[in-house]
Each structure stands twice: as C-alpha cells, then as structure tokens.
Symmetry: C2
Subunit: 195 residues, 2 copies
C-alpha cells in the first residue's frame, strides 16, 4: 500500500520537481507523476497550481526565518551588534539559498515579482524581527526615535541591495561583504541619532 496522499507529501514532491525543472517547466502533472497519482488528486489538496507553488515557497521561506529569529531575539548581544549580525545573516542566507537551491530561489523570485501573499508574509515576518531588534535598541538608548516599525521598514529599504531577490546577480561579485558592512555602518550611525 502507498503512503496516504497529504498536502505535506505533495509539497515535498513539488519541491523536488521545482528543484529539478525550475519554476518555468515544473507542471502539476510532473508532481502527480512523481507521486504516482493522477493530477486531479493534487487538486483535491490545492486549489490551483499557483497556490501549490506559494505553499511550497512559504514553507521554504519559513525555514529561513527560524535561523534569523534566533539572532533577532538574542538578548545577550547589544542591539547595534545584533542588528548588524542579523543583516549580515540575512544576506548570507539569501546568497546561500540562491547558490545552493537556484531553482527554488527562482520560484521565490517569480512570486516576488507577482506580489504574492507568500512573499508579502515573508517581508512582514522579517520586518517584525527587525522591529524587535530596533525596539530593543530604543529601549536601551542605543538608538534614537519613536517608531520601531517605521524604522524597520526604512532599514529594510536601505539594505534592499542585499536581500531583495532582484539583486541576486550582484551577490556573486567581489567586495559585496564590504559593501554591506559599509551600508550597515551608515545605517547604524543613522539610527544612533534622533529620528
């Protein structure tokens, strides 16, 4: 007897298919073939191909959040250093994902261009972590200002070159780590004085 067909197993198979064929070529028929079922069976668990693609990407992005969440809530480290470490880890995670899992990253990139709910949630989750670090900095007096959420969004925008998927092509280049360090330094100086 075959294992029960669940949303979970479908998403696992979809990840494999996406990794193998990429977002442009992967079809739900491919997914069904990989599972040894008819494609209509897949539609019992996901209302559409794009919903399936979103669910898979959401899971994939969720795994990345966990690592970063640990850094964001590390109360042992003073907020400025924590912010710097978080931004560097975010960049490292994105670059790592882009190089080791290019097809899933490409899927994510497609969803980002389409303003999907999955990527919106991803951004929201990251902004929430960022706001937490900044709120800690405001509380400790390391940062100046009064709206951690707004400051988080601004810091996120200012570092877009190091996490926005549209910039993947640049992440391979030399001096990118130094460039991020410089932007971090500038941003941290900006956060220290009144906003």
């Amino acid at each position: 007897m075959r294992a029960a067909l669940t949303a979970e197993t479908i998403m696992l198979a979809t990840e494999d298919v996406l990794r193998r064929y990429g977002p442009g070529k992967a079809t739900v028929v491919d997914v069904a073939r990989a599972l040894g079922v008819s494609h209509a069976a897949v539609y019992r668990h996901f209302p559409s191909k794009s919903a399936l693609r979103e669910a898979v990407t959401r899971r994939w992005l969720g795994r990345a959040h966990e690592e970063l969440a640990a850094l964001a809530t590390d109360a042992d480290r003073p907020p400025p250093g924590r912010l710097r470490a978080w931004l560097i880890a975010l960049y490292a995670a994105k670059r790592h994902a882009a190089t080791t899992d290019p097809e899933l990253f490409a899927t994510y990139r497609v969803l980002a261009q389409e303003n999907s709910a999955a990527t919106a949630e991803h951004v929201t989750a990251l902004l929430h972590q960022l706001a937490g670090i900044i709120a800690a900095g405001l509380a400790s007096g390391d940062f100046a200002g009064d709206d951690p959420a707004a400051l988080a969004r601004t810091v996120f925008e200012a570092t877009a070159a190091f996490h926005h998927p549209a910039h993947v092509a640049e992440w391979g280049g030399p001096d990118r780590d130094d460039a991020l360090a410089d932007v971090c330094a500038l941003v941290l100086r900006g956060l220290r004085t009144a906003g």
Copy 2:
C-alpha cells in the same frame, strides 16, 4: 538627395525603432528600413547590434546626467539639502523615464542586467556627482568621514531601491516618496556622525 548617413542619424532612428518595438523585437534591419538603407550600411558605423544599442542608451542616460549635474553642483544649497534633493531628483528622473519611455527604459534594464559598459559608465558618472556633494559636506563640516568616494558608493547602495532598474515595478506604488524621504533622513543622519 538623402541626408548623409551618420552615426547620429542612425542612433536617432534606432531610438525610434526601440521606442516602437522595444528591446526584444527591434532589429538592425528595422533600423535600416526606417532609414531607407541596407542593414550593411549600419554596420559601417557600429560594429554590432549590441554596440548600437549601447550607444543609444549611453546618449539617453547622458541626457539624464545633465539635469542632475546642475543639482549636484548647486553651491547655493547646503550639502545635506543638496544631497536629499539630488536623490529625490534621481528617483523622479528614473520613475519618469520608466513611465514615459518604457521601451527605452526596458533597453536600459537589459543592458544593466548584462553589465554593459554603458551602464557601468552611468553608475560611475552618478557616483562622481554624489561624491562631489559629499565632499562639499565634508568640507563644510556637515558630514563626517574621510573618503567621499566610498561614502558615495555606500549612499548609492543604500538607496538602490529608488534608482536600480530592477526595482521599477515598485516605483508605481503608494508611499514610495515617503519611503525615500525616510531612507534619505536615515542616510543623512548617518553621514553627519563620524564614519
């Protein structure tokens, strides 16, 4: 008698053809047709299609520089305000170009993805203007630091979301002007203290 075939007239015709068909469909045969000459005549003035495309884009970008150069060298305005005005004008110029001349902007975007010499020069020119403003700020004591070129690059990176062509899709959205104002404010606060 027909006007002499010069690089200038070829570039003008190419601009029209690019505007009409976009970078994906425009061919040098189209350009030659528009000029009423054979396509081989075009190859007498430009070594390749991509060289022609680059030349046209370089000219187009050059026109944008001129406006900004006036702002960058406006000694009447104190450097912080000048920097803010310059960044806002840069964003406005890019957004305007993207909306009023979408096909030429698309051409520019293609070249940017291909790391062409034309776009590299464009970036260099912008960084030069930016470094000029920052150098003025360092001289006046409004900014702290010792390397205007490095600071210029850092400011440029931090504002990528508002001038990098990969972000066009976002420029239409609401609150983009506010977002830029916030990033400008953060960057300016960062520049004021020692770097």
